[in-house]
């Protein structure tokens, strides 16, 4: 019963966030095309010769995801703050974790779509060719996204309340995501190089552990963080 109420809250928040993202026209489309733009900038900055680019490709894809993902996270809480809607949100009785869960869900949807687009663009622009090991590649991306979203949403819940959110969030988040970035890029490279499974296997296990740890940690920590 109580569980059903909480689940309803989770859905309500996720739905609200998605709705506003779609309404505010600069929602998904813009963030996605920004991601692609960043990808291209990386391509331009890393010089024209194809060899260097192919090596940089995976890193570029992840960086583009990271940089534009940050915006998405901030937006998801900005909605609350724009007209002081966070205070009423905190005024609702009942536990606070559904708020976090709802935001998490919304961002997860958002980012998964975005990554799909970025990867497609990366394949075309950097001439990546898809290896036979693509299923485990999918796994890597899934794990990477989860790690990204969990920490991103959590930190956004704090930073978005400070004025300089767009600066503060990446500042806190990026260092925390170093493991994700390293694991994701290295594993992806290994898989793209059609490498031996066990090579990327270690990285994948690392990613999984990372996700698990921080999923639990953030859910616990959120109750304290969100308090006024």
């Amino acid at each position: 019963m109580a569980w059903r109420d909480d689940w309803r809250r989770v859905r309500a928040i996720a739905r609200k966030d998605v709705t506003t993202e779609l309404r505010a026209k600069a929602g998904f489309n813009s963030v996605a095309s920004l991601a692609v733009t960043i990808l291209i900038l990386l391509g331009l900055a890393l010089g024209p010769d194809a060899e260097a680019l192919r090596n940089a490709a995976v890193g570029a894809v992840w960086l583009a995801t990271l940089f534009s993902g940050v915006l998405a996270f901030n937006r998801s809480f900005q909605v609350e703050l724009e007209s002081g809607a966070l205070e009423p949100l905190l005024q609702y009785p009942g536990p606070r974790w559904p708020i976090f869960a709802g935001k998490l869900l919304g961002n997860l949807l958002f980012l998964t779509l975005m990554v799909a687009i970025v990867v497609a663009a990366g394949i075309v622009l950097f001439g990546i060719r898809i290896p036979d090991t693509w299923p485990s590649l999918l796994g890597v991306f899934a794990l990477g996204i989860v790690g990204l979203v969990v920490l991103g949403t959590f930190y956004a819940s704090m930073t978005s309340r400070s004025r300089a959110r767009e600066v503060l969030l990446p500042l806190l988040l990026f260092p925390m995501l170093v493991p994700v970035l390293l694991a994701a890029t290295t594993a992806s490279k290994a898989l793209l190089g059609a490498d031996l499974m066990h090579e990327s296997g270690a990285w994948i296990r690392l990613l999984a552990a990372y996700d698990l740890v921080f999923l639990v940690a953030t859910f616990i920590a959120f109750e304290h963080v969100i308090e006024a």
Binding site: K25, A26, S33, I40
Partner: protein, 239 residues
Amino acid sequence: MNPASERLRETPTAPPPRTSIWLAVAGFGAVIAAQVYSILTSPAEGDMGHLQKIMYVHVPAAWMTFLSFFVVLVFSLRYLWKRRENDDLIAASAAEVGAIFNGLTLMLGMIWGRPAWGVWWVWDARLTSTLVLFLIFAGYLSLRALVDDAQQRARWCAAVGVIGALNVPIVYMSVKWWRTLHQPPSSPATLDPAYTMGLRLNAIALLVLMIYFIRKRYEIARLEREVENMAEAAAMGGR
């Protein structure tokens, strides 16, 4: 401050243009005709075989892209000068159409590139600058989508349109140098005279089509404004 502000609130009194169906017929007809002609006449090209026929859309599309963005530039300037809403609407229509041709160029180019070069994409000057151009006007369009107040949207987009257009040659030059400073660009082979005629015909056909698209889009925009003007009549009338 703003020139001719008095007209700033003026909404067009002339009835919106009726784009005749014949223009559409002419456009599509010409395209089909030109295609048929050029496909029949052009010899299978050496290393690319009949694949090369993509060129008959790809290249004219590219030209139309440039043309329609030139239209955006002209009418944006004119809006800033005269502040007539029509100019803004035309610029917007041209931008949309241009973006579509731009996308078409990219698509066809990539489809062509795969077999021709073995890759979807090379960071060649022409390709890259086309892509950047596309991004610039994607930005222009998303700005349009984002601003609610009609006059603000018009002014902002006019400014962005002009400044964006100013940038196009600079972008092209910079990307060209960027390439040439390293290795000779793997840019598409310049044309064999055997193809020029077909190319010209297709260019003309697409030109007609482009004009039709822009006019049609403009007509729609104007009709939307008409609705609002009727609402005004209703609102202000009962006095």
